[in-house]
C-alpha cells in the first residue's frame, strides 16, 4: 500500500507536530541514549517500524544503528517489563495500541465501490481526504510506538534492561509471535484474579497517607479520564461529520454555479469556493483537537492504569508482608519453623519497602509529567483553535466583502 518516509508526504498535521513526537510526555532526552522511529512502512496487515538508536553507552556494539520491529515485538518488550519482579516498583510505560487501519481501509473500499455514483471531481476529492485520514492514523501509530520507546529510554532503570537492548540492537526477527488462544485465555484469567485482588487490596487502608491519597486519587482520576476520553472522541467524530457535509454542500453549490442561468451563478461559485476553504479549516480543527486533546486523554488513560497497576503491586506486597508477619508470630508462638518464617518475613519486608520507595518517586514523577503534558497540550490546543478561528473569520469576511461589492 503506502510506503512513506515520515517527513515527506502531505502535511496533514500542524507544523507544531514535527520534531520530537513525545508530545504527551515531555521527557528529558539525553545523549547517552536516544531512540526514535525514523521510518515506517505500512503493508497489507502489518506495520514495520524502523527503530533508530544513538547511544554512547558501552553496552552497544555501535554508536548508531537501526532495526526493523513490528507491533508484537513492542508488546513482547512491554510484557517482559510487567512480568519482571525487579520492576514491580516502577510505573511500566503503557504499551502502544495496536495499529488499526480497518476503519480507514473500509472507507476506502466503500469509496471504490461507490465510484460510479459520483462525479469525477467528487471522487477525487473524497479519495484525497481518505488518503489523508489514512496517513494521519499512520502518523499517530508511529508516534505512540515512539513515545513508548522514549519513555523506556528515559527511565533510569528500565533503560538498562537487557531485553530492551536486544530489542534495539538485535537485527534479526525476535520471533515473538502474538499470543495464541490459550495464552490469551490465561491472560484473561490473570486479569480477572487481579481485579478481584485489586478490590481486596484497595480495601485495606494504608498507613501511609501519601499512598492512601494516591490510591483514592488514581481510582477516581482513571475513571474520569476514561469518560472524558470517550466523550471527546464522540465530539470530534461529529465535527468530522459536519465538515464532510460542508464538503458535499460546496460540491453541489459548484454544480449549481455552473448551471444557473441567472446572476446567481457567480454567487454560487464564490460561496462554493468559500465553503471548500472553510471546510478544510474545520477538518483541521477536528484533527488538532484529536491530537492535542483526545490523544492526550487516551495516553493518560493508559498511564493512569499503569500507575494503578503499580499501586496494586505494592498493595499485594503489603498483604504478603502482613501475612508473613502473622505467620512469624504464629511460628514464634508455636516455636516451630521460626527461622524460615523470619527469613520469609525479611524478604517480604524488603520487597515491600523497595517497592514503596521507588513507587513514591514514580508517582511524583507521574504527576510532574502529567501536569507538564496537559499544560503543553492545552496551550497548543488554544493557540491552534485561535489560529483556525481567525483563519475562518478572515475567509468569511473577505468573501462577504466581495459578494456585497458585487451586488
Amino acid at each position: 500500500m503506502m510506503q512513506e518516509g515520515l517527513d515527506d508526504g502531505p502535511d496533514f498535521l500542524s507544523e507544531e507536530d514535527r520534531g520530537p513526537r513525545a508530545v504527551n510526555v515531555d521527557l528529558q532526552t539525553d545523549a547517552t541514549l536516544q531512540v526514535d522511529i525514523s521510518d515506517a512502512l505500512s503493508e497489507r496487515d502489518k506495520v514495520k517500524f524502523t527503530v533508530h538508536t544513538k547511544s554512547t553507552l558501552p553496552n552497544f556494539k555501535q554508536n548508531e544503528f537501526s532495526v526493523v520491529r513490528q507491533h508484537e515485538e513492542f508488546i513482547w518488550l512491554h510484557d517482559s517489563f510487567v512480568e519482571n519482579e525487579e520492576y514491580a516498583g516502577y510505573i511500566i510505560p503503557p504499551a502502544p495500541p495496536r495499529p488499526d487501519f480497518d476503519a480507514s481501509r473500509e472507507k476506502l473500499q466503500k469509496l471504490g465501490e461507490g465510484e460510479g455514483s459520483m462525479t469525477k471531481e467528487e471522487f477525487t476529492k473524497m479519495k484525497q481526504e481518505l488518503e489523508a485520514e489514512y496517513l494521519a492514523i499512520f502518523k499517530k501509530t508511529v508516534a505512540m510506538h515512539e513515545v513508548f520507546l522514549c519513555r523506556v529510554a528515559a527511565h533510569p532503570v528500565l533503560r538498562k534492561d537487557l531485553n530492551f537492548h536486544v530489542f534495539l540492537e538485535y537485527n534479526q526477527d525476535l520471533s515473538v509471535r502474538g499470543k495464541n488462544k490459550k495464552e490469551k485465555l490465561e491472560d484473561f484469567f490473570k486479569n480477572v484474579v487481579k481485579s478481584a485482588d485489586g478490590v481486596l487490596v484497595a480495601g485495606v487502608k494504608d498507613v501511609d497517607d501519601f499512598f492512601e491519597h494516591e490510591k483514592t486519587f488514581l481510582l477516581e482520576y482513571h475513571n474520569r479520564v476514561k469518560e472524558a476520553s470517550a466523550k471527546s472522541d464522540r465530539k470530534i467524530r461529529s465535527h468530522k461529520n459536519a465538515a464532510d457535509d460542508i464538503n458535499r454542500i460546496a460540491s453541489t453549490l459548484y454544480t449549481l454555479g455552473t448551471q444557473d442561468s441567472t446572476d446567481l451563478c457567480k454567487f454560487f461559485l464564490k460561496v462554493s469556493e468559500l465553503f471548500e476553504k472553510t471546510r478544510k479549516i474545520e477538518a483541521r480543527v477536528a484533527a488538532d483537537e484529536d491530537l492535542k486533546l483526545a490523544d492526550l486523554l487516551k495516553y493518560y488513560l493508559r498511564e493512569s492504569q499503569a500507575a494503578k497497576d503499580l499501586l496494586y503491586r505494592r498493595g499485594r506486597a503489603l498483604v504478603d508482608y502482613e501475612n508473613a508477619n502473622k505467620a512469624l508470630d504464629k511460628a514464634r508462638a508455636k516455636n516451630k519453623d521460626v527461622l524460615q518464617a523470619e527469613t520469609t518475613q525479611q524478604v517480604c519486608c524488603q520487597k515491600f519497602e523497595k517497592i514503596s520507595e521507588s513507587a513514591k518517586q514514580e508517582l511524583i514523577d507521574f504527576k510532574t509529567r502529567r501536569v507538564a503534558a496537559f499544560r503543553k497540550n492545552l496551550v497548543e490546543l488554544a493557540e491552534l483553535e485561535l489560529k483556525h478561528a481567525k483563519g475562518n473569520l478572515q475567509l468569511l469576511q473577505s468573501c462577504l466583502g466581495v459578494l456585497k461589492g458585487d451586488t
Partner: protein, 450 residues
C-alpha cells in the same frame, strides 16, 4: 429565545433590484405590474400601487402579514387543547397584517387561522390560477407525527421546535403569496387575511400541499398519454424546462446535504455539552490545583461552544434548509405550470382534430340531402371553429403568462438566495468571532498552569 426566521417580506427594499422588466406594460389586465418593483425610497419615479384619481401618500410598506402562534393568549386554544382528548384539539395561528394598500378595509388587521385554512386557501388559488400559467406558491406540508406530539400535550423541545417550524413556514407561504401581484388582489386572499370568520376548508385530507399539486399536475399524466408529441416551436420553453429540471435535481441534493449538516451540528452540540461535563469532572478529580482550575475553565469554554453550535444549527436550518425546502416545492409548482401549457396545447390540438372531423362530416352530408342534419353540422363547425380560436388564444395567453411568471420567479429567486446566503454567512462570522473570544480568554488560564 426564538430562532431567527427568514423574513421574506415585500418590504425589503434594495435599489439594486430595479432590473429590466419582464412584464408587459401594455397588458391591461396586469394592474399590478408595478407592484412587483422594489423601488428605492429616494426614487422619484415610484408609481402609485393602485391609481384611481389622485394618488394617496406612498409608504414603502405595502403589505406584511405576520404569523404567530396563538396559544400565547389565554382564551380559545388553551381551552381546546386541554379539555377534550388531544386528537381533537387544534392549533390556531394569529395572522397579523399591516398594509397601506387601499384594497384592504383597514391598515392593520388580525385574524385567527388554522393550518387547514392555509391549505384551503392554497387549493382555491391553485385551481383558479395554475391553468392560466401562474406560479402559485405551495402551502407547507402536513406532518402527522409532528402535530400529534403537540396535540397530545408533549411539552418537550421537539414539539416546541415543530410549532415554530410550522409557524415560520406558514408565514413564508403567506409572504410569497401576497408578493404575487395577481394573487394579492384575489378575493380569497383578501378574505383570508381580513375576515374574522372563515368557512371551514372541506376535507383537508385531500388538501395537503403536495396533494393539490398532484391533482393539478394530472396534466402531466395527460401530457404523457398524448399521442401527438408537442412540437415545441418556442426554444425558450424547452430551454427553461431543462433548466428547471437541472435546478430541481441540484436543489434537492443541496437540501439533503444541508439537512445532514443540521443534524450533525445538533449532534456536535450535544456531544460538546457532554464532553464539557466530563472535563469538569476530570478537573474536579485532578489534584494539581492549577491544572484542576484550567480543566474547569476548559469545561466552561466547551459549554459555551456547545451553545454556539446549537445556535449555528438553528441558523443552518431556518435560513438555508427551509429556504431550499421551499424552493424544491416551488419548482414543482413551476413544472406544473409548464405542464398546464402542454395541456392547453393538447386541448387546442384536440379542437383542431374535432373541427376537421366535423368538416368531413359536413362534406359527407352535402350529398345525403338531409337539410336538418346539414344545418346541425354547419352549426357544429362554427362551434368548433370558435373552440379552435379559443384554444389558440388560451395557449398563447398561458405562454405569455408563463414567460412573465418565470421572469418574476427568477428575479425573486436571485434575491431570496442572495439575501439568505449573506445572512447565513454573517451568522458564520458571528460564530467564529465568539470562538475567538472564548479561546482568547482561555489561553492565559492554560499558560498559568505551573
Amino acid at each position: 429565545q426564538s430562532p431567527e426566521a427568514a423574513r421574506l417580506s415585500a418590504e425589503d427594499i434594495s435599489p439594486s433590484s430595479n432590473g429590466p422588466r419582464d412584464d408587459d406594460p401594455d397588458d391591461p389586465d396586469d394592474l399590478f405590474a408595478e407592484a412587483t418593483e422594489e423601488v428605492s425610497l429616494d426614487s422619484p419615479e415610484r408609481q402609485p400601487i393602485l391609481s384611481d384619481g389622485p394618488s394617496p401618500a406612498i409608504t414603502p410598506v405595502t403589505i406584511s402579514p405576520r404569523v404567530d402562534v396563538f396559544d400565547r393568549s389565554p382564551d380559545l386554544v388553551k381551552h381546546r387543547l386541554s379539555s377534550c382528548d388531544g386528537m381533537n384539539a387544534y392549533m390556531v395561528y394569529k395572522v397579523m397584517t399591516k398594509t397601506s394598500l387601499s384594497i384592504f378595509s383597514r391598515d392593520e388587521v388580525c385574524v385567527k387561522r388554522r393550518f387547514s385554512d392555509f391549505l384551503g386557501l392554497h387549493s382555491k388559488l391553485a385551481s383558479k390560477y395554475m391553468h392560466m400559467g401562474y406560479i402559485v406558491p405551495p402551502a407547507p406540508e402536513k406532518s402527522i407525527v409532528g402535530m400529534t406530539k403537540v396535540k397530545v400535550g408533549k411539552e418537550d423541545l421537539s414539539s416546541v421546535e415543530f410549532v415554530e417550524k410550522r409557524r415560520s413556514a406558514l408565514e413564508r407561504y403567506l409572504l410569497r403569496t401576497v408578493k404575487h401581484p395577481a394573487l394579492l388582489k384575489d378575493p380569497d386572499v383578501l378574505q383570508f387575511l381580513e375576515s374574522s370568520e372563515l368557512p371551514r376548508a372541506v376535507s383537508t385530507q385531500a388538501l395537503s400541499g403536495a396533494g393539490i399539486l398532484r391533482m393539478v399536475n394530472k396534466a402531466a399524466d395527460a401530457v404523457n398519454k398524448m399521442t401527438i408529441k408537442m412540437n415545441e416551436s418556442d426554444a425558450w420553453f424547452e430551454e427553461k424546462q431543462q433548466q428547471f429540471e437541472n435546478l430541481d435535481v441540484q436543489l434537492r441534493k443541496l437540501h439533503a446535504s444541508v439537512e445532514s449538516l443540521v443534524y450533525h451540528r445538533k449532534e456536535l452540540s450535544v456531544n460538546t455539552a457532554s464532553f464539557a461535563k466530563s472535563a469538569a469532572m476530570l478537573g474536579n478529580s485532578e489534584d494539581h490545583t492549577a491544572l484542576s482550575r484550567a480543566l474547569s475553565q476548559l469545561a466552561e469554554v466547551e459549554e459555551k461552544i456547545d451553545q454556539l453550535h446549537q445556535d449555528q444549527s438553528y441558523a443552518d436550518f431556518y435560513l438555508i434548509s427551509e429556504l431550499l425546502g421551499d424552493y424544491v416545492r416551488l419548482i414543482t409548482a413551476v413544472k406544473g405550470v409548464f405542464d398546464q401549457r402542454m395541456k392547453a396545447w393538447a386541448k387546442w390540438q384536440d379542437a383542431q382534430v374535432m373541427l376537421q372531423r366535423k368538416r368531413e362530416a359536413e362534406a359527407k352530408l352535402q350529398y345525403a340531402s338531409k337539410p336538418d342534419k346539414l344545418q346541425q353540422a354547419t352549426d357544429e363547425i362554427r362551434e368548433w371553429e370558435g373552440k379552435v380560436q379559443q384554444g389558440e388564444r388560451d395557449f398563447e395567453q398561458i405562454s405569455k403568462n408563463i414567460r412573465r411568471e418565470v421572469g418574476r420567479f427568477e428575479k425573486d429567486r436571485v434575491k431570496d438566495f442572495r439575501v439568505v446566503i449573506m445572512k447565513y454567512l454573517e451568522s458564520l462570522v458571528h460564530t467564529q468571532q465568539q470562538l475567538i473570544k472564548y479561546w482568547e480568554a482561555f489561553l492565559p488560564e492554560a499558560k498559568a498552569i505551573a
